[in-house]
């Protein structure tokens, strides 16, 4: 029986593509260093679990479709602290940042519409855009330029009469690129001048390593109709399993459209909303230790990665990924070889292959994304394995 042609144009997660081969490798006794996964090992703040334990309502009722007031107010307080005043009606709690993306795409995109996204980008954007009937117009960036994209002529060259929105990820996944305030303002200006929405995926906001103040597109005045922010507790509080994200906008018509989706799916988890609200009550310095830990991990990974001959990568300024071009012809073939024909003292390594992060066919073939969510010693060992592997692979 026929399935949706839109769904058929979507793919499975590239981060999980080699899971079958990996399982077999483990069965053969191989140890794999997983740089492909994005599950942080940072402890979830105990306040989350304490809020669950202290809950005393005997009926687990639906929460309002627009979210529980206790969470809305916690999020408002957080944003007020970084200089963005929001009303409750400007925030919609979602089933993770992922649902906020689905809602945004479904609310603004029509069949045949285009959305400009700098590539490489988070591959799940493709599914949300495709299911809305639209397509991605890639704004191509490259490792040699540190994946920078905030250049007026280059952005405007991607805009045409079918363009409805621009989507930026700041800090960037997979690139780790962080926009300077004037670069973010330029992107907002371009969106406003062309009458476009600008979706700002800011779920990695706290993960910046050069002492930058926390930045959000919501801090800029004059772009109320254009700006849509995607946020989440997942990475900020190492609470990925909570599935609490947010869709935030001051555009009333847009929020009205998004509310139709909210009412269609009735509500977000009541307990996860209550417990997530407690996370926002943490001391404002809570994140300092996490940031310092990730910075050390980044420096460890990058220090060794850059010593491998032929590797091209810029220092990522944010998030917890490094995108790098490797001196191999095809990262997919290399990953296959790493899992099936290679080991270094019984060890090998996995990363996310670069091609699915691009919309332009053929791009990213020799690139990989590595997440630095492992302990320093494991990242160090993984880079040693990668160096040995590249040398041996190219001598086959």
């Amino acid at each position: 029986m026929k399935l949706s042609s839109k769904m058929e144009r979507c793919g499975l997660s590239p981060m999980r593509k080699f899971n079958g081969e990996a399982a077999k490798a483990v069965e053969r006794g191989l140890k794999i260093y997983h740089l492909n996964i994005v599950q942080p090992d940072i402890l979830t703040p105990p306040a989350y679990f304490e809020a669950l334990r202290e809950h005393a309502q005997p009926v687990l009722a639906y929460s309002p479709s627009g979210g529980l007031p206790v969470l809305l107010d916690a999020v408002r307080k957080y944003y007020a602290h970084i200089g963005a005043e929001l009303s409750r009606a400007e925030i919609l709690p979602t089933n993770g940042g992922s649902e906020a993306l689905q809602m945004a795409m479904a609310s603004i995109l029509d069949d045949g519409d285009e959305i400009v996204i700098p590539e490489p980008f988070y591959p799940n954007y493709h599914t949300s855009v495709t299911l809305a009937g639209a397509s991605i117009r890639p704004l191509t960036t490259c490792p040699e330029e540190g994946y920078r994209y905030a250049v007026r002529e280059r952005v405007e060259a991607c805009i045409n009469e079918r363009t409805r929105a621009i989507l930026i990820t700041n800090p960037g996944n997979p690139t780790g690129a962080v926009l300077k305030p004037e670069e973010l303002k330029l992107m907002l200006d371009i969106a406003k001048e062309h009458g476009l929405f600008i979706i700002c995926d800011e779920v990695y906001r706290e993960f910046v390593y050069a002492g930058e103040p926390l930045i959000s597109a919501l801090q800029f005045e004059g772009y109320e109709d254009n700006v849509i922010v995607i946020d989440s507790v997942s990475k900020r509080f190492s609470a990925c399993g909570a599935r609490i994200g947010m869709l935030i906008s001051r555009n009333k018509a847009f929020m009205g459209a998004a509310m139709k989706w909210c009412q269609c799916r009735l509500a977000v988890s009541t307990m996860d909303q209550i417990a997530s609200a407690a996370l926002y009550d943490l001391d404002e310095h809570y994140f300092d230790a996490t940031r310092a830990e990730y910075k050390r991990r980044r420096d460890t990974l990058l220090g060794k990665l850059r010593q491998i001959p032929g590797v091209v990568c810029e220092e990522p300024k944010g998030a917890f990924y490094v995108m790098a071009a490797l001196p191999v012809d095809d990262a997919d073939a290399f990953q296959h070889w790493l899992l099936n024909e290679f080991d270094d003292n019984g060890d090998t390594v996995m990363f996310a292959c670069g091609e699915p992060f691009y919309a332009t066919p053929g791009k990213g073939k020799n690139e990989v994304r590595m997440a630095y969510v492992l302990k320093e010693e494991d990242l160090s060992r993984a880079m040693d394995i990668l160096a040995v592997a590249i040398e041996r692979y190219n001598k086959r």
Copy 2:
């Protein structure tokens, strides 16, 4: 700025349409008996909250996109008990039954496709179908016939070359109609003969009041490619706030398409999955008391409702709704009058107006859906108010 034309064709929840007027009525001192809402007052089993309290993992990690094994196995055990053997791969936990519906529609429907749904139907179906680019072909039923639809000629008259699926709700929301086993088999046969999916929304499975055994389309052999079941813990365990539903099918290609959606939104709430699994460990007689309570409520409501002159309604066999035709010209105007110009000793009543439950324009204008989720004495009082109101309304 332009919004999605598909989203613009969707509506807000008809159950919440009069909430603004209701708030003002309450401010004026009116007491409202809410037959429009669907939040049961039955206590959530303590096992749910105990599972949350006992959780001891310090990192709240993503669960697999395909669901936590502990929940999958709990659901498998439940279905095995009612005669349907399922593998883990045939079950996908979802963010409530609502997301399972969204996933099903997005996986099988294309622009211009049609899905046959007996009307009146749960209005949120319209949003899921419309966002997938398709439209509802209504199979019209009427209160005088107890909203029955399982008649071959009538179903087949709705099928054409654009039809991709049939959606049935069993037990029915809003009608309370329950298919006999031979009627369900007829619907499955029609779907199979015409090469259609048949989506069976069975979230009210336990709510049957004539001693019927629990029925699921999954119990019938030979329809593995056609049947898609929507299920949920919300109503079964009075755990609406848990947002744990399930999409179940033995059609591998369909489940592969649905998995793309699952990976795009990464995962379902980890804690809600763990706690919901504990619900399935309850004694199999857990539901008996709940069922008896709802049966009493139905009988109380119906006994009084049928005494009101001019009301047309059949006894609902399942779920916790009564759909009824009232002797008024327009239920919307009547509801407006009830909130703004009427009271009986300071009391009034709310219901869900019937029109949004129909796809055929003009249908359902004098019908209303009433949920019997209140205590018997409140339902009784609400019916007394309704009787007085109808009499006074028609004498204006």
